[in-house]
């Protein structure tokens, strides 16, 4: 009898286990958020109560901004609830890939944040999964280059969010010590920057910039400023015949050979080098200003100029690095509510954009917002310069590019062959040719 009871309990236990497994199989890999999504479906069944689920990363930036947007919207729509799920960026991408590939719709959120370089990859790999917003938003109000990157077959799919407009942020005190004022640093070329760097190093002993040679960021800045990319408009790889790319590679080598940088590896070292005053400038997207300002003791010692340009004729003193946008899932339970929410807050609320600029340093790609008060305010950290108004001006100059699907593949192909060129074992032509061969084998 005892044995029989034991047997029954084991069976009961294993049945329970199976049931649990079967339940969780549709949503593999999700732990806590899986439950949250289930809640959202249960509740959104009734029409008066809507729940909008959002996936994003970075608690100080995207998540905080989404929370702000949600609280604004809830004031006028008390029937809408928000579930803002924070995950690491890689986790958002991984979950989105696996769920979309499995063709399940129940594990998905209503709104998801996608990095701009990845946008076409998701839109074209999973056609029909994202809501077509062409007629729902007034896209003339957004920076054209942001709209271009979320367009497939003249249909627009996302809500443009933060801009990655780039700037040349420098320590005005160090550069003044070497004899350079703001006018000397305005609209310069990369070659001129290298000359200045040598001079600064000789006079002050400081490196002009912290530099991670394994990071493709600067390469993308240089390319984007020329209006060229790793691919042409039809999506064919343009590597070996790309003049801007060739010049960008040569510029990398010139910068390294000039011995004017602090070599770093990874984000923390890179930021640390300008935070502790070893590097006299940083050239990156506007989102870096948050990290620049983290060194409060350097307040008033910084200034911003447009990003340097290449010698390539089409190259402008304006570029973009990174940035992301919001997308609404077509199969979302609260799709219409999500569209209405995004339109009302991100697509028309100028005051909201002033708040997130002040609180989070988010430079909007929503053009009417740039005329607002927060943008024209003088920034004490940057010596009284209205940096965000300047960025708004540069943003309009950014050449529009279709990033295509394969930015990461191309980046990897270039960077894995760049090392051989930098160390002198390959010519720039050979490195580009090998990179093109690698890229072509990746994207077949």
């Amino acid at each position: 009898m005892k044995r029989f009871l034991l047997f029954i309990s084991v069976i009961a236990l294993s049945i329970g286990l199976f049931a649990a497994c079967a339940k969780s199989t549709p949503d593999t890999g999700s732990d806590t958020s899986g439950n949250q999504q289930k809640d959202s479906q249960d509740k959104s069944g009734s029409s008066d109560k809507q729940k909008i689920t959002v996936w994003a990363w970075d608690p100080n930036f995207n998540i905080a901004i989404m929370n702000e947007a949600a609280s604004i919207y809830k004031k006028t729509h008390d029937n809408v609830e928000f579930e803002i799920v924070e995950m690491a960026k890689a986790d958002v991408e991984q979950k989105l890939h696996t769920t979309l590939a499995s063709k399940m719709t129940e594990g998905l959120p209503d709104i998801v944040l996608i990095e701009d370089y990845n946008a076409q990859k998701y839109l074209q790999s999973y056609p029909g999964s994202f809501a077509d917003l062409t007629d729902k938003l007034n896209y003339n109000d957004f920076a054209p280059y942001k709209v271009e990157l979320m367009t497939v077959d003249s249909k627009v799919y996302g809500i443009p969010f933060d801009s990655g407009v780039t700037g040349f942020f420098y320590r005005s005190d160090i550069l003044a010590e070497a004899g350079y004022n703001a006018d000397d640093l305005n609209n310069i070329t990369w070659d001129r920057l290298i000359e200045i760097g040598k001079d600064v190093k000789a006079k002050t002993g400081k490196a002009i910039v912290s530099f991670d040679k394994a990071d493709g960021g600067l390469m993308r800045i240089m390319l984007n400023s020329s209006g060229l990319w790793y691919f042409d408009a039809e999506g064919n790889a343009t590597i070996s015949n790309n003049e801007a790319l060739k010049e960008a590679m040569e510029t990398y080598k010139k910068i390294l050979d000039a011995d004017i940088i602090i070599p770093t590896s990874g984000w923390n070292e890179w930021v640390g080098a300008f935070n502790n005053g070893d590097a006299a400038s940083v050239i990156s997207g506007c989102w870096i200003t948050g990290s620049v300002k983290a060194a409060t003791d350097q307040s008033g010692k910084w200034a911003a100029a447009p990003v340097p340009r290449l010698n390539y004729a089409e190259s402008k003193n304006a570029s973009n690095l990174g940035g992301s946008s919001w997308y609404i899932l077509d199969a979302a339970q609260s799709k219409d509510a999500a569209i209405d929410f995004m339109n009302e807050v991100f697509g028309s609320n100028v005051d909201f954009y002033q708040t997130i600029l002040t609180n989070n340093g988010a430079v909007a790609s929503y053009l009417p917002a740039i005329k607002g008060s927060a943008y024209s305010a003088a920034d004490e950290f940057f010596g009284g310069q209205a940096v965000f108004a300047d960025m708004g001006k540069w943003m309009n100059e950014i050449p529009s590019i279709n990033y295509g699907l394969y930015t990461y593949e191309a980046d990897s192909a270039i960077m894995s062959n760049l090392e051989a060129y930098l160390s002198g074992s390959k010519t720039v032509e050979d490195a580009l040719k090998d990179a093109e061969a690698q890229l072509e084998s990746q994207i077949q």
Partner: protein, 313 residues
Amino acid sequence: MERKLKKYGLIFIAIAIILLALFMFYPVLYSFYLSLTSTKLGKTNFVWFANYKRILKDPLFWISLKNTFVILLIQVPIMLFLALILATILNDKSIKFRGFFRTALFLPAVTSLIAYTILFKMLFSYTGLLNTTLMRINLISQPIEWMSNPITAKAVLIIAMIWRWTGYNMVFYLSGMQNISEDIYEAASIDGASKIKSFFTITLPLLRPMILFTTIMSTIGTLQLFDEPMNLSQGGVTAATIGPANSLLTLSVYIYNLSFKYVPNFGYGATVAYVIVLLIGILTLVQFRVGATDDEKEARRLKKQEKLMNRRV
């Protein structure tokens, strides 16, 4: 009664079998099916063995294969050799604080893979502890760019892995050594064998199964190496390359990239995974053959001969 017990037995076994089938056999078979498909722009096609053909011409696959083997051929022998030496020293009863040293050497094995990788990354960074120390004692005049050079980056990875795994393997050897009877050593020393002589003629041969086991486990572990290169390379998932010039790109990291970082092609990713399976299979077989004792080799030879004889008859 007996029949009843048999039924219970079957039910109990069934639970394990069903679980195994669901979570082990099904994924194994399904991933093989996946490796015969290819996805492009949301459309998955059945392509037979085209992926396996594609892999032969894929430069990134060859880079990752080469990296994995360089790490395997340098790291595993050094680590196992060190583990063997440490185990021999710590097995000596005349050493004081044996327990302390054993624990200290084993401790790295309980640290999290990510934590120790990040720690090593900090140690070897441009302004890290190692560079600063070397500069202070005037061994170098300029900091070394450990993580920006393909060769030194790989060296850092190997050093980190040796630190993490040597103690782990040492424990296997220690337990193996404790199973060797003291009497044998005593007899050898009476016969006039030196410590070194008895190490080579007693310890090594009797540890053979343990050495074989650790070699196979380390080989499998290295072929599946993922956490360390992923975290050691700058920025990890967002980095353009895994280590300078892709010097830390291992096969497993490549599978991750193919599935989640690049335009997703789970089919091609599964193909690379199957190549790893194949490699592990071949290497394990080779190690079994090489690691076999002379008796086992002789037995195998006789068996073969017998078969041949039977066929002739």
